[in-house]
């Protein structure tokens, strides 16, 4: 009896202590408690940032994705980088960069730079970093971004010279800020293979505003301020930031809702974001987004007997879509209507789709396009979308697109979907006549929304080719005069709206949810699309 009572007492005691400490404050991992050595002051209290992004590789040669870029943004320095609020690259590890010849871009390095492991950072490290990306050419890596780089050499300890294939490439400085731009230590990074993340962390061959001090891949990463960093971002306001990786957006939502973490950055569902707007003690921050969502027309296989009929069908669809309904009803304001191939906020962005086809669906206009071209209605279209790559709301989005098109009485939509691997492989084989696609820019420049889409043999693979368009694209890309370039960009956008090879629908806003005492979130949600821990503080 006594023994039984003892067991019961022990079990009861354990349960009580578990329950009490769960409901009480200051769990070891609670973001309100230190969970380790205390910070050095009120401004440097540790922060916890949560995300559902995944890291493919911290080594720049092995990754070209948001999750990896986010880590790289914190730990690597670049030749050029974007200061807060700007999309004009400024010197980071470089002192200056400029075109010294039409095909020669020269950067002069700051002196006295060093990596976190104490090794000197020289022009040789810079040349090595770019060369190894091209040499390794990892399938998950950013080598494709360096397509215009013919070679790179270190002239001396402080001078790097890039030789370009195409002259006066105004986008090249932007390329230096992308996933292809992190500078690595040539004394520790192998020239011919991608390092594992643990090797990257232990080698400390990085020189950005933070170094990684603790790391479990796709689970937890602790970033500690690098006191030697002298770059564009300035000194970090917070000494220690921990990144927590979630497998499920629902858990990320619960943790920010319960204030177990300080910031939730990418990617909550629109419904979750909407519901968090009403929670006390947390704020939903939004910033301009560069992510574009659009419908692609395969000009070869889409409905229509000839080019004129195909164009009429595209124009009729453009006149039948209600972007505002998609943005507010499906995406709860986390996306905004997109009226051009270049999203609002980018250099030279205009609104030709709104001007030509109207802000709201116009059935009469749509019907006229079709009747003028002799297209009999309703037009049957096979519309494809992907349910797993662009977020869980894609099904709802395309359900709404189908409803809008059919509401005009001019279309009969057969909606179909395929998982991403199949979808991405089949879309380039002319399998889908009309289909969903999304675009996250490589760098925040208007050209990145144009050249990949409208040059011959573009990545969309929709058989679009137009000599006049090609000439305009080449002109804007090599035009150093901003006003003249903006004019060309306007012409290009107008042409896209008239020809409708793609139908822009929505632009995604950047969203981060933070506890009210966290400062600097809005500052980092800028058009550079880089989430800087250096801006954050409590």
């Amino acid at each position: 009896m006594v023994r039984k009572f003892g067991w019961a007492l022990m079990a009861g005691g354990l349960a009580a202590s578990l329950a009490l400490s769960a409901c009480g404050a200051g769990r070891p991992g609670d973001s309100t408690s230190s969970g380790g050595p205390a910070g050095t002051g009120a401004g440097s209290a540790p922060l916890i940032v949560g995300t559902t992004d995944k890291v493919v590789s911290i080594d720049p040669a092995g990754s070209y994705d948001n999750g990896s870029l986010n880590v790289q943004t914190q730990v690597y320095s670049y030749l050029l980088n974007f200061p807060a609020g700007s999309v004009t690259p400024q010197p980071d590890a470089a002192e200056k960069c400029e075109f010294t010849q039409p095909t020669e871009y020269t950067c002069t390095m700051k002196s006295g730079l060093k990596f976190a492991n104490g090794h000197a950072l020289t022009a040789s490290d810079v040349a090595f970093s770019f060369n190894r990306i091209v040499k390794i050419n990892d399938p998950n890596g950013p080598a494709s971004l360096l397509g215009n780089m013919k070679s790179v050499t270190a002239k001396d300890d402080t001078t790097v010279v890039f030789t370009l294939n195409d002259p006066n490439d105004q986008t090249f400085p932007q390329v230096l800020v992308t996933s292809a731009g992190p500078i690595v230590d040539e004394e520790v990074y192998p020239a011919d293979k991608v390092m594992t993340d643990d090797e990257v962390v232990s080698s400390k061959g990085t020189s950005g505003p933070y170094t990684i001090t603790k790391y479990t891949k796709n689970q937890l990463a602790e970033f500690t301020k690098n006191p030697d960093y002298q770059g564009t971002y300035g000194a970090a306001k917070t000494d220690t930031v921990t990144m927590k990786y979630y497998t499920d957006a629902n858990n990320l939502k619960l943790d920010i809702q319960n204030k177990n973490i300080d910031v939730a950055y990418r990617s909550l569902t629109p419904t979750d974001v909407e519901s968090l707007k009403g929670v006390d003690g947390i704020t939903v921050h939004t910033g301009p987004g560069g992510e574009s969502r659009y419908i692609v027309f395969n000009l070869k296989t889409m409905p229509g007997k000839d080019d004129a009929q195909k164009l009429a069908i595209r124009q009729a669809m453009a006149s039948s879509i209600d972007r505002d309904a998609l943005a507010t009803q499906v995406y709860k304001g986390t996306m905004t209507p997109e009226w051009s191939a270049i999203p609002d906020g980018q250099l030279g962005a205009t609104t030709p789709f709104k001007d030509l086809y109207g802000e709201k669906p116009d059935k009469a206009k749509a019907a006229k396009y079709l009747s003028d071209a002799g297209v009999s209605t309703p037009v049957s279209i096979d519309l494809w979308y992907n349910p797993d790559h662009y977020g869980s709301s894609s099904a709802e989005e395309y359900g709404e697109v189908k409803r809008q098109l059919e509401a005009s009485g001019l279309f009969k939509v057969n909606l179909q979907s395929a998982e991403w691997t199949t979808y991405n492989a089949e879309r380039v084989k002319d399998t889908y006549p009309i289909y969903q696609l999304g675009w996250f820019p490589d760098f925040p420049d208007s050209d990145n929304y144009l050249t990949p889409f409208f040059m011959p043999d573009n990545f969309v693979h929709n058989h679009y080719a137009d000599d006049a368009m090609t000439a305009l694209l080449n002109k804007q890309r090599t035009d150093g005069d901003k006003a003249s370039r903006e004019k060309t960009l306007g012409e290009i956008q107008q042409k896209v709206a008239e020809q409708v090879p793609i139908l822009p629908l929505l632009t995604g806003a950047q969203v981060a949810i933070a506890k009210n005492d966290v400062k600097g979130v809005t500052e980092t949600l800028d058009p550079s699309f880089k989430f800087r821990f250096t801006s954050l503080s409590r």
Binding site: L14, S17, L18, S21, A22, C23, R27, P28, G29, D30, S31, S33, S34, G35, G36, I48, K54, V55, V56, S57, D59, G62, N137, P139, N140, V194, M195, T196, D197, D198, K214, T216, K217, N218, Q219, L220, E222, T242, K244, Y246, T247, D248, N251, L254, D255, N258, N260, I261, T421, N424, A425
Partner: protein, 363 residues
């Protein structure tokens, strides 16, 4: 005053070997264990061979993971570098040699050594399965006993329904309900420990990656409690599944045991019913439960995939799912092989335990 007559416990005791059985100098238990260990080698060999062949039937892993990202020439070059252009028997030999050396390769999609995945994520799955098994015992055994004792009465009917509910309810659904129920009270519903605990325990040496052991090694009760709090809900979600099976198993075995002659004899000698149940019938009724436990471990590992995703418990099941989505069949091959090995070894251990508690098995 009535003096209680205690009936001898019927089992376990060493039975005489059957007539005609050849006696060797080796103790039966040791001989049994050696035979089982010898048998595990071909079992594991067959398992790893099946995994290897299945992965090759799907196609070569390089094309599966990187097809569409690289040109056909580069794909061929990568296949040659990975040895996938060699004859199948040669690849198989290299695969077996790698296994013997503990080298399962590196994932294609994120450059991660597979042994590292097994050490980090595998430890998480083992820990979750352990906690779930504890819950299954805690739920299934006492409730099974209550059901047997009250056979065909209200408590029995209720418990039988409950058992069906336990193993019929989808794990992720139970997990979601638990999260919704506990989250408003501030109970941790995601991860294996709080962020601070995880950061601190990453400094433990030697690091086992099993949170509770690392927390104990660290020595701070606050961390141990934190780890236990985080384990509670996933353990319940996954453990109830097996707990339902145990409940029904204990009930039926106990009912059968209570009908045996030696229990009747005990009752005839005036042994109180409670003592008959706890001292005589119950222990024997548990033997089949231990046997079934081996199969349940495989079931737990499968159920872990859903539980791990629901509760941010980044174990092998969740990781396997991620690599399957990315068609990284090098990773899949390594993880499935590890699953097979874990289940095989767990079955071996269960066999030993059964042999220890039930001498009939040894002969």
């Amino acid at each position: 005053m009535v003096t209680e007559i205690v009936a001898p416990t019927e089992a376990p005791h060493e039975p005489e070997p059957p007539p005609g059985t050849r006696r060797t100098g080796m103790p039966p238990l040791l001989r049994y264990m050696l035979v089982r260990i010898a048998l595990i080698i071909p079992t594991v060999w067959i398992l790893v061979t099946v995994v290897f062949l299945l992965m090759r039937v799907i196609g070569d892993p390089i094309s599966a993971a990187l097809g569409g990202k690289l040109s056909p020439e580069v794909i061929e070059q990568r296949k040659a570098e990975a040895g996938l252009d060699r004859p199948l028997p040669q690849q198989y030999g290299e695969y077996l040699l790698g296994l013997l050396r503990g080298d399962l390769g590196t994932t294609l999609t994120d450059h991660r050594p597979i042994t590292e995945i097994l050490l980090v994520n595998g430890a998480a799955t083992i820990e979750l399965s352990f906690w779930a098994l504890l819950v299954a015992f805690a739920v299934g055994i006492p409730l099974g006993r209550v059901a047997a004792r009250h056979r065909d009465k209200v408590p029995d009917v209720v418990l039988r329904l409950l058992a069906i509910l336990f193993y019929a309810a989808p794990v992720f659904f139970v997990g979601l309900l638990l999260k919704l129920a506990f989250s408003p009270f501030g109970w941790p519903v995601a991860g294996r420990a709080s962020t601070g605990t995880e950061l601190t325990l990453s400094d433990v040496r030697p690091k086992t990656n099993i949170m509770i052991i690392d927390a104990i090694l660290w020595g701070d009760p606050a961390y141990i409690i934190d780890v236990l709090q985080h384990a509670l809900l996933p353990a319940i979600a996954l453990g109830l599944l097996t707990g339902g099976v145990f409940l029904r198993l204990v009930r039926i075995n106990l009912i059968q045991t209570l009908r045996t002659d030696y229990v009747t004899a005990a009752r005839a000698r005036g042994v109180p019913e409670r003592r008959v149940l706890s001292k005589h019938a119950f222990r024997n009724a548990l033997v089949p439960v231990v046997t079934v436990m081996g199969m349940q471990i495989a079931m737990l590992m499968g159920g872990a995939l859903l539980t791990e995703t629901t509760f941010e418990w980044q174990g092998l099941g969740y990781t396997l799912g991620q690599y399957l989505l990315k068609r990284d069949f090098i990773a899949v091959q390594g993880i499935v092989t590890a699953f097979a090995l874990i289940v095989a070894v767990a079955s071996l251990v269960i066999d030993f335990v059964v042999a220890l508690v039930d001498p009939r098995v040894r002969f």
